[in-house]
């Protein structure tokens, strides 16, 4: 090799002196964008308030959620003692809505978190290994895919029986296949990237590459998809309770409350729609946050 005379010395690429601007990682950039998004902030605040209220329920609620009173049934919203009225058994609605938030929020987040862990793991393994392993994992998830999600949740809950743990299991089973699918498709894309090839060329093991290179590039899309599942999960969990397959009375749960108050819809319509309103607010907020999350991660870096 002879020197190319037209070009300067190697040092030519060394940039000018002075302080370089601070580097920002993808996650820092995404977080900054998210924290400046008014929609995300508002919805986040709403969810946070509901979550805190649910967590602190015993200390902030004015009444016992289970104490019935035959004389104070279906008091209207705006009552002096019961601000949001009472239900068909005379229990304070505000208290029950706050307590119900515990169950509903739990049923919104827990199945999605579990499904993200399981489905994400399966999808990444399928996507990274490819071939027969991919085939085996994805065809099994396809079986679950063949059923509409509500129907599947109802069927599994029906087989397992009513109860909190069983609805958790059935919802996790419902959400695992789509999350595995998303994880598999992004992993397959990432796997063929040159930087993964380059990592393999250094002699790194498969696990090391998955943890060091694949995971950081697939977490974003998986998180976005998972966050959009939260609202679905709340709605389906409420649906299960509404059908009597979820939590059993007298526990407070929004879906269940919606069901029992349904009969009073002509007597006290405002009371009857309150649990539905809560479901609507929470699922809407988490959907909007999911949207903002997607927008904030939609950066080409």
């Amino acid at each position: 090799m002879t020197t190319v005379t037209s070009a300067g010395p190697i040092a030519a690429a060394t940039p000018r002196k002075g302080r370089r601007p601070a580097s920002r990682s993808f996650w820092e950039t995404a977080w900054r964008r998210l924290s400046r998004d008014p929609v995300a902030l508002t919805c986040g605040a709403i969810l946070l308030i509901i979550l805190l209220a649910a967590l602190l329920a015993p200390w902030i609620t004015p009444h016992d959620p289970y104490r019935t009173s035959m004389t104070r049934r279906l008091l209207p919203v705006g009552d002096a003692r019961h601000w949001l009225g009472t239900d068909e058994l005379g229990r304070d609605l505000l208290t029950r809505l706050v307590y119900g938030g515990r169950m509903s929020l739990f049923m919104g987040f827990a199945p999605v978190v579990l499904a993200t862990l399981i489905g994400g793991f399966l999808g990444i393994v399928a996507g990274y290994c490819g071939g027969a392993i991919n085939m085996a994992i994805m065809r099994v998830t396809d079986v679950f895919y063949a059923f509409p999600s509500v129907l599947l949740a109802v069927a599994i809950s029906g087989v397992l029986g009513a109860g909190l743990v069983n609805s958790l299991v059935s919802l996790t089973l419902v959400f695992t296949p789509p999350l595995a699918r998303v994880a598999e498709s992004v992993t397959t894309q990432v796997r063929s990237q040159d930087y993964v090839e380059a990592a393999r060329a250094t002699g790194a093991s498969g696990w090391r590459i998955v943890l060091g290179h694949v995971l950081s590039n697939v977490t974003g899309p998986i998180l976005i998809y998972a966050s959009s599942m939260i609202s679905v999960s709340i709605v389906i969990a409420s649906g299960l309770s509404f059908l009597g397959l979820g939590v059993s009375p007298p526990h407070a749960e929004w879906g269940l409350m919606l069901n029992t108050l349904r009969q009073s819809i002509y007597v006290a319509p405002l009371n009857a729609i309150l649990p539905g309103l809560m479901i609507f607010i929470v699922s809407m907020s988490s959907n909007l946050i999911s949207d903002s999350l997607r927008a904030s991660m939609d950066v080409k870096v």
């Binding site: 190319v4 060394t14 090839e197 950081s216």
Partner: protein, 365 residues
């Protein structure tokens, strides 16, 4: 044929690294019968399997301290060969010997040991860097994968960044999108060098850079080569760059080696009609030597069903009957290191031009 390859002397064999085991005469890399067919249709249920013959019986050697240029049209198997050598793709058959030690097999070098000695720089400087990792983490990754602790790996990352002309304090914590194309390719080179390899494969490593940056990176590569006693396999479609950097040049066509020789001999006096066509396709600086008509027309044939006999015969102006019947073997028509696979240049092949029209080669090197 192995003898022919091994007897070719390298002009740059005096620079030998500290890891040298086989001595200066032992080629750093000996490749024999390398083959990779990609299945495109499975043979199940009555249909017969069809394959893309991406790399078909490729044999060559790389001497210590030399730069072997590899040229050929797109799709001729250059990149696949590189990926086979570093085992990003498993070869179907063929042996690879690295400085006397066979790669793979029960008594050979393990893949990991081989990869410490052989590294690769990819063409796309952007796609070959993880957008989520800082430069330092990207370089340190390979070191940590080879059992070097975090702190040492980080320090070493800084050292190699310095080596490729990037100030570590300035660049270490940056992300790929904050670098220019040339800087990114330097980082890729730094990553390849971090493991202290002896052989670096540069797969179109400078092709995507603009000309001034390309020249800088070529100079850097050359300086690194002499400083670290490296050996390069330089894959490129840019014939001028290959001529500039290489000691020897290997020409591939449709998955086969068709010509291999010292750079001066090969460029001055190409033996294979394809090489001739490739070289005359270079544009001249002089407007008087305008090329009106492409010296090579048409696309290479489908590698799924390559032509019988010589694979180039469908586009060759010297093709005769024998070319479709017999596959030409690599051989040295005039002795010496310049070898070619062409009936027209092989005495006694049955080709009418054989033995007489073959341009006289002076065994120079």
């Amino acid at each position: 044929m192995r003898q022919t390859l091994a007897s070719a002397r390298s002009p740059a064999s005096e620079t030998i690294g500290p890891l040298d085991r086989g001595g200066p005469a032992q080629p750093l890399l000996l490749v024999n019968g390398l083959r990779k067919y990609f299945p495109i249709k499975s043979g199940g249920l009555g249909g017969s399997a069809t394959y893309v013959k991406a790399v078909d019986d490729v044999s060559f050697d790389v001497k210590k301290g030399e730069t072997l240029g590899v040229v050929g049209e797109s799709g001729c198997g250059k990149s696949t060969t590189a990926r086979l050598l570093i085992r990003l793709i498993e070869p179907d058959s063929g042996t690879i010997v690295l400085d006397g030690d066979p790669v793979g097999g029960p008594r050979g070098l393990s893949l990991r040991e081989m990869r410490r000695q052989v590294q690769m720089v990819f063409q796309d400087s952007y796609a070959s860097l993880n957008p989520r990792l800082t430069i330092r983490d990207t370089i340190a990754f390979g070191l940590k994968a080879n059992g070097i602790d975090r702190a040492t790996a980080g320090k070493r990352a800084g050292t190699v960044l310095d080596l490729v002309g990037l100030n570590p304090s300035m660049f270490e914590q940056r992300y790929p999108h904050e670098l220019s194309g040339g800087q990114r390719q330097r980082v890729n080179i730094a990553r390849a060098l971090a493991l202290e390899p002896r052989l670096v494969m540069l797969d179109e490593a400078v092709s995507a850079l603009d000309k001034s940056v390309e020249a800088q990176v070529l100079n850097l590569l050359q300086e690194l080569k002499s400083r670290l006693s490296l050996t390069y396999i330089f894959i490129s479609h840019d014939l001028n760059v290959v001529q500039h950097v290489s000691d020897r040049v290997l020409v591939m066509y449709l998955g086969k080696v068709i010509e291999l020789g010292p750079v001066d001999a090969l460029y001055r006096n190409p033996l294979h009609p394809y090489t001739e066509g490739l070289l005359s396709s270079r544009l001249s600086m002089s407007p008087r030597k305008r090329i009106e008509k492409p010296p090579l027309s048409g696309d290479p044939p489908n590698p799924v069903n390559p032509p019988s006999g010589c694979r180039f015969r469908t586009r060759c102006h010297l093709a005769e009957d024998v070319c479709s019947k017999l596959e030409p073997k690599l051989g040295a028509p005039a002795g010496g290191p310049h070898i070619v696979a062409c009936h027209a240049r092989t005495p006694g092949s049955g080709h009418s031009l054989a033995g007489k029209a073959g341009p006289a080669t002076t065994p120079s090197s």
